[in-house]
């Protein structure tokens, strides 16, 4: 029995009906129009290929592996860093500082932000100083903190704390202020007391956005940490980068920077997963 492919019925072009045009412009250059799923995938992967290709091209043209190593050389260097230079140790130290500084900042910023958002008295008291400090760059505090705290872990953690806290507290305050009055009012008319409204309505109403704010500020924490480590540290990714610079090892610097990027991507994805699991009722969470 021969297998005959099922005949596909091709749409008969009729003269009466104008054919739907599927031109390139129409598909890809209509503002806010969704593009085919496949095209989206190809473009996403393509961007990486493009960047790597451009990088390789520049490296080949420059012919100076000291300053512009090829992607492949960087991968080899990264492996060498892990095996021979215990780079994972630096990664570990940096991660520890990030987590410690971030948790300490969040532990104060989230409750305070929620209180500031819900009670005008608290807001009036804390808002002016916090707003003022927010515009002082966290990195500018580094020399002062070195004077006060020395070069140990507490100095690094304090930098991250300053960098995260002042931003996060105001973001959480905004989130709290955006909780619709009617949602609280309806709870009152259902017989809820002030305290019940606070913990059964107000708090849950803020949670999804608070997790979003944590996710965003976590990304910033990396910047502050690396700056702190670049200025003075015995270990950590930042200090690794500084030492690599002294030895003219651009490949190591690039490998370290990419490592930070990957770590950031991992934490971001973790937050996105937490968000999706904890708040299934929120529609459309973009990873």
């Amino acid at each position: 029995m021969s297998r005959v492919p099922a005949a596909r019925v091709a749409p008969v072009p009729s003269a009466a009906r104008p054919r739907r045009r599927r031109g390139f412009v129409r598909t890809y250059l209509t503002p806010k129009q969704a593009i085919p799923r496949r095209a989206r995938l190809i473009l996403g992967v393509g961007s990486f290929v493009f960047v790597l290709g451009l990088w390789s091209l520049v490296a080949v043209l420059v012919q100076n592996p000291l300053f512009v190593p090829t992607p492949y050389q960087v991968v080899l260097t990264w492996w060498d860093m892990m095996v021979n230079l215990s780079f994972y140790n630096d990664v570990g130290w940096s991660t520890f500082r990030i987590v410690a500084g971030f948790l300490l900042a969040a532990a104060v910023a989230v409750p305070l932000g929620l209180l500031m958002g819900s009670f005008e008295a608290v807001r009036s008291f804390f808002n002016p100083p916090i707003n003022a400090v927010r515009y002082m760059p966290a990195s500018a505090f580094i020399p002062l903190l070195i004077l006060l705290q020395g070069l140990g872990e507490d100095e690094k953690i304090t930098i991250i704390w300053i960098g995260v806290f002042f931003q996060l507290v105001l973001m959480v305050m905004d989130i709290a202020q955006r909780v619709p009055d009617e949602m609280l009012n309806v709870a009152y008319t259902l017989g809820a007391s002030r305290w019940t409204v606070f913990y059964k309505v107000f708090l849950p109403a803020t949670f999804p956005e608070v997790v979003d704010a944590l996710r965003i500020t976590m990304g910033w924490a990396w910047t502050y940490l690396i700056v702190a480590e670049l200025v003075a540290a015995e270990h950590g990714i930042g200090s690794f980068i500084l030492i690599a610079e002294r030895y003219l090892r651009a490949d190591r610097i690039i490998a370290a920077i990419i490592t930070i990027g990957i770590l950031g991507l991992i934490t971001d994805t973790l937050f996105a997963i937490i968000h999706r699991l904890a708040f299934p009722y929120v529609q459309k969470v973009r990873a």
Partner: protein, 263 residues
Amino acid sequence: MSEIQIADVAMRFRTRRGEVRALEQISLTVPDGQFACIVGPSGCGKSTLLMIAAGLVTPTEGEVLVNGKLTLEPGADRGMVFQSYSLFPWLSVRRNIEFGPEIKKALPAERRKASTELIGLMRLDGFADAYPNALSGGMKQRAAIARALANDPEVLLMDEPFGALDAQTRQIMQELLTDIWQRYRKTVLFVTHDIEEAIFLGDVIYVMTSRPGRIRTTLRVDIPRPRTFDTLTDARFAELRNQVVGIIHEESLKAVESELVRA
């Protein structure tokens, strides 16, 4: 017996441009089991009046009494339904409906029985475990009404509950609400700017003046119940509508004129 009385209520706001008189000399009583509607031109303070009735806003003068007792704070005796639904998005439809009973520490079995009944009545079957985000506007408002009823309030306060719905859905919701009201015979104070809605639903209509809002006319809606879709074509319905439209139009013109004078 559940009756709500609004006695000599006045509301004034202080703004930078001076004092704004929002409400003046408002007195009305909604006796047990009556469906009272408040209509008025936009900005006449009818929503503020409802907030005062709920205890969510303190009036400058006057008081609100439920069953003759003075009320100073919002409470479970006056359940409220807002235009914006205000469902709790993190709770399923069922948990939303059970919110009031849960606070009252009602037994889980009782709560469940009540919510199941209301889910059926409000035609939300199959959506008990859905989150509000998954519902259409009409379904959200049915869930919000169910949530208010589950608490068995003395008075149901409704602030333009169907204002955000499209015309077809609104008509269906009005019919559903009259059915529900026939069943529970709650005392209802219902604010709307939709005159036909007020006539279709209400026993009594309070027509308010433009700002400062006062009660200009009280009309008894003598159209027999149960009211159905056919009521809309009733001769008496048209008569009442024309009467109210005339008054509101006059008041709206006044409002526009006074704005022009101020400008």
